[in-house]
Amino acid sequence: MTESAIILKSAGSKRHRAEARFRAYGLIAIAISLSFLLVMIGSITMRGTGAFKQTFVQIEVNLPAEKLDPEGTRDPEVLRKARYGKLLKSALRDQFPDAKKRADKKSLYKLVSSTAEYSIRDQVAANPSLVGGTHPFWVRASSDVDQYIKGAIDGSLEESQRRVNDKQIAWIESLEAGGNIESRFNTQFFTGGDSREPEQAGIMGAVVGSALTLLICFLLAFPIGVLAAVYLEEFSAKGRINRFIEVNINNLAAVPSIVYGLLGLAILLNVFNLPRSTPLVGGMVLALMTLPTIIIASRSSLRAVPPSIREAAFGLGASKVQTTFHHVVPLAMPGMLTGSIIGMAQALGETAPLLMIGMVAFIVDVPGGVTEAATALPVQIFLWADSPERGFMEKTSAAILVLLGFLVIMNLAAVYLRRRLEIRW
């Protein structure tokens, strides 16, 4: 047998086949997990993109001066106090005179959002010269109309089976034929707070709430976590107590997050009487949850600093504190920051502890500070997912997309920081 024959034969050997098989298993595993991810993101995206568009309806509204501003001051304050609901309703009746019966009128009024009158009010107050004439106004369509236009409500179903009745469909079609229906980018979704009306609901309140909560969480957890790690790793005696603490920190990292929520409820709210439903308390609870992660990550990045650097500093006469804070901590900082960002990303997605401390309340206003009632992104998703209105379905998916976006940004930031700050030696 020649040399090459031996090589060829071993190529088809059992060992070779085993390697090929193992490669195949690995590829299959990756393909399966990737396809799950694709299906998940794909379905959320498909459901969620609708929320970024909102249907608007144009209505000619008569604004009689004697009703809005009897004294003729044209003062925006006076104009704000006037009632626009009736004007809008009569404008709708004028446009569709066939709605005579009480029930028909009711479904006619349901074409536009119940918040439409406020949007007219704001436009008039901003431009008082509109008073005393008939002007076209673009107002939000109601969620049902919006859903019908987007095709989420099937018009071919039995009338009793759908949220939009035959008359409404006829009106929508006539509005569409007149060019009075438009689909626009839904800025309200990104700039508004929560609302009972799906067409009016936005995530700004939840985003700001989450940001404030994470700010508190970072301000508490990062310094405490880093200092604890530095002390345990650099200063304390490596004895039994140190190991005991390490084991317990590792255990704490695995404690279900709802337990931290209960702790927050029992201690922070009931004992210290901190304000309920606020980012302050939410941040404190999440800080408790994130601390073990930050300590563990910081300790391992401190351990990764070569001992020769410590020796070099000691050899020059640097004290323990100087050595630690001039050399060791700066070198470990990228790892510490990365660990913290990953911990924060975890905290951003956390719902259960926030439910326990009451951040699940329905809050319309965008919070202005850490002691104002607020909700957070994952809780907002939970709230919307729980709402019966059809319009909230796409909002839920859209909010998930926003949350995923923030998570991706945070994780990219962690990768970037690691690459950017890492010093090689």
Binding site: K238, A312, G315, L316, G317
Partner: protein, 266 residues
């Protein structure tokens, strides 16, 4: 024997040793690493510590600047004196001790900072420079003394870790002399370097002898013979023989020394 050598080579006058060890003992937990060592180190000379691995020569070296302090299980007894002062006295400030007794390690360990900052760090923490120009002067003098100035003067802002191994080790020497020590301890400074870099460092050590007292731990007997004036041979934690390098290598008194330098043990 120690007393015989306590003479200045030029004047033949007795000299006061800069470092003095009497009954020096070091334990790692229960294991004794240094057994009853008595040694006098004389100023402005190079003293080489030789001996097989694990003989305690690095341990003894690290006693002089109390680098063993960071090892919790390490215990030192006996008398260690630096210029007549007990190194292990509870009143001694380790920081100023290490400023006077600098150290260069086996593996070059520059800080991952610029060349300038590497040198300037020591003077900065000890407050040796009151102005920026003074600091620049210290950096330049230190690098010049370490024979590195001409190679790095145009790139002082570049990381010290970007230099070659030999340059890094000279940077570490420059860093050590920047705090104006009296003694420089060198723990196998050339073991990670190629022969050319080693030769450069050896020349440098010879030049530094003029201003500093140097103790060098080395595994290479040729190196000890080349750079040192005094040699101490350690075996199993004991100081077996201490004398002028010439005498140790040409006519060792102890059989173990003879066996080691001829390559029969080690």
């Amino acid at each position: 024997m120690v007393e015989d050598l306590a003479m200045n080579e030029d004047t033949k006058q007795p000299m006061t040793p800069i470092l003095k060890v009497r009954d020096g003992q070091v334990f790692y937990a229960e294991k004794q690493a240094i057994i009853d060592v008595n040694v006098d180190i004389h100023p402005n000379a190079v003293t080489a510590f030789i001996g097989p691995s694990g003989c305690g020569k690095s341990t003894l070296l690290r006693c002089f600047n109390r680098m063993n302090d960071v090892i919790p299980i390490c215990r030192v007894s006996g008398s260690f004196e630096f210029s007549g002062q007990d190194i292990y006295d509870s009143e001694v400030d380790v920081v100023s001790l290490r400023q006077r007794i600098g150290m260069v390690f086996q593996k070059p360990n520059p800080f991952p900072k610029s060349i300038y900052d590497n040198i300037a760090y020591g003077p900065k923490i000890h407050g040796l420079a009151s102005s920026k120009s003074e600091m620049q002067e210290i950096v330049e003098t230190s690098l010049t003394r370490a024979g590195l100035w001409n190679e790095v003067k145009d790139r002082l802002d570049q990381p010290g870790t970007g230099l070659s191994g030999g340059q890094q080790q000279r940077l570490c020497i420059a860093r050590a002399i920047a705090v104006q020590p009296k003694v420089i301890l060198m723990d196998e400074p050339c073991s990670a370097l190629d022969p050319i870099a080693t030769a450069t460092i050896e020349t440098l050590i010879d030049e530094l002898r003029e201003n500093y007292t140097i103790i060098i731990v080395t595994h290479s007997m040729q190196q000890a013979a080349r750079v040192s004036q005094k040699t101490a041979f350690f075996h199993l934690g004991e100081l077996v023989e201490f004398g002028s390098t010439e005498q140790i290598f040409s006519s060792p008194v102890d059989e173990r020394t003879q066996n080691y330098i001829t390559g029969r043990i080690g």
